[in-house]
Assembly symmetry: C2
Homo-oligomer: 452 residues x 2
Amino acid sequence: MAEKRQLKLGVSIRGLGYHAGGWRHPDVPSGGAMDFEHFVNVARIAEAAKLDMVFLADGVGIRQKDEPPGSLCRSNQNVELEPITLLSALAAVTKHIGLVATASTTYNEPYHLARKFGSLDHISKGRAGWNLVTSWSDAEAFNFGREHQMAYADRYERAMEFAEVVTGLWDSWEGGAFVHDKTSGVFYDPDRLHTLAHRGKHFSVLGPLSVDRTPQGRPIIVQAGASDQGRDIAARFADIVFSAEQDLAAARAYYASVKGRLATHGRRTDELLMLPGLVPIVGATRAEAQAKHEALQELIDPLVGLSYIYGNFGDLSAYPIDGPVPEPKDPKLRSRAAVMFNLAQEKGYTIRQLCQAIASGRGHRTVIGTPADIADTMEEWVDQGAADGFNIIPTHLPVGLEDFAALVLPELRRRGIFREEYEARTFRGNLGLPEPQNRYTEARGQGTALSA
Amino acid sequence: MAEKRQLKLGVSIRGLGYHAGGWRHPDVPSGGAMDFEHFVNVARIAEAAKLDMVFLADGVGIRQKDEPPGSLCRSNQNVELEPITLLSALAAVTKHIGLVATASTTYNEPYHLARKFGSLDHISKGRAGWNLVTSWSDAEAFNFGREHQMAYADRYERAMEFAEVVTGLWDSWEGGAFVHDKTSGVFYDPDRLHTLAHRGKHFSVLGPLSVDRTPQGRPIIVQAGASDQGRDIAARFADIVFSAEQDLAAARAYYASVKGRLATHGRRTDELLMLPGLVPIVGATRAEAQAKHEALQELIDPLVGLSYIYGNFGDLSAYPIDGPVPEPKDPKLRSRAAVMFNLAQEKGYTIRQLCQAIASGRGHRTVIGTPADIADTMEEWVDQGAADGFNIIPTHLPVGLEDFAALVLPELRRRGIFREEYEARTFRGNLGLPEPQNRYTEARGQGTALSA
């Protein structure tokens, strides 16, 4: 019998989970975002579950628009530990799981990032990953000497060159360069050291990098941009694409589009894994799962809920929260609010119910049901060519992850589509991805001397 | 009996130690610079010894001048893990010791650094320190889009403003800002959140920082600049000054100069600790210590030794290494080489011996002798007003640190001038330094709500 195709699974561990009311759940440590022990707990649960990676999204600023007034201090999206620093500490207390940190190409220097992720790969013995993003908000721009966010095209052009420099720096040292021969006094083989000497539009970086070739050859690169330029960066550099897709047909089209671009860069379709986000809300029965979801929805503070529709409706805080959704009066808002207003009319939503519906999924596909329901959706997406696995987005931590591990993973294992044990020593190995050759070693036509 | 003044002691753990031949010592793990386990071992030795801190110097580039030819690949100053990443991982496997990472104000953004060190302080539960430096080499400038290093005055002006922004961002949240009240839905008290809105010559940074007030109030700041501007930065911002002083009289003058500037900034003289570097080479007898030193000197590769005098003499690799030091012929070099040439004449040094003499100390005071000899020097410097303690610079790791801990520390403890156990829960507490107030809390005339 042919072995079944194995799902690759990550988990997003940002803050206290993704649900807008999650921090108020009785089992959530509400101070967890600044508490290392909270993340140790979450990472250990994920590793015990044999997941491929923990994933940290990030931004470099706090959105300070308190709209409607009084809503901001009721949201938990305010403080978070810097991801590379956090994952490096987690590297010391985990052994197998991949560690993916988001870092922006917009307000960083490629030399610094290449060095940090290279260091994390050494410290973790081959488990580092970089989620390559651009920064699109003014709130972030204001922290880095800019009056506005960088224009879209510039941002992506810079991101592409940034990735060229970082991957170039990671090839500074060929495998086996360091001989450390105490007798002869030779520390490294100078023929295996290479100076990048990059000169481009956005960056001039000489190199070499002061970090040896890493245990994975180079850290895993994750990319999440859905735009045309984002897809090009993914096809050229990424090992994993993390996307937000609600709809199977759209997810299939996106999957085909990114995979279709790989050949241009001399890559096979199995050299990149597509992992859309998935919010599972699981119960032993569908009724139990629905009850869990409703309990979370009730925890969304009304002002926080209203902040999710503020951009469409303006300030509705003077209206009764359990009353009908008013027709938008401001002509500037009318077209933006139309879809939501029609949804509310159609479903008979109150203001609270509309807010809850919008705040719930945060753009990712949410599946509420039994372990079999969730496993069915996952299998369907993989079988239909929409995914190679998923990045699980827990509603609240650690509970949402514990539920997934306790209820859904046994079902996936019963179906033979998720591992019982880690197969390899590195993150890349567990993903089943090939180790990239050093470009200079490749040019000589030699295999690497590296044992990862 | 009045309690004796206690020494504060750190240890520099960069790479494999500071001695140019150290990596070739039989007991040194020559691949240690990229091996996390090497640093875990060193940090645990330092913590078992109850030292105040491990200290990581840093640069952001590899000096690529291979002078004389073939010397560079024989030096071990090539690769090192990025310090914040490394110390964050060490935070997870240590409990008491301070963790100080060097980070440059020249090629970083203050928002990133404030966030990383703030995160490290949370992760380590109050043990983070930032060694604030400027980057002076062209080799580093080339990695960050510059044709040359930044001019001295610009570098220090930028460093001062950088420190203003970082310390300002660290005050974004007052103690007790996060109430996490699940019942009312209030996550933080908006009156305790502050937006820096810095606009200066080098930086515009809005804030606030996405990291809560840290366990130490703010991370410890270390400064090492001996220049006039460096002393001003130290007097205004630093908790510790780490200096390279060979001579007692000069060290006393430097100590008095920095301490004398504190009052201008409303600080008491005991609010800043002066810790000069000290290279101890210790044996049970003076003869044993001398033998240890000579064994290390013999391990300096001749080409590496010649690289230490290349800037003064040019390439001497064609001369017999055990022959006399030739008189410099190049008129451009003659004045720069004069002091060294005269030293060689006076002492009867061969080329090898001259190189060994120059390469040995690396600018720091070296004491070769018994535990009592080293303790005597330390006490003399403290009693004479030249130091509040020392940053120990081991010749090679872990051996140089193990020797210091096994031989010198018992002597210091016998004299009652170094701790038996850690006294406090934070790095700042063990240093005996006061917790800085948040500027906004201070302005209200309230104490902090923080329990550090």
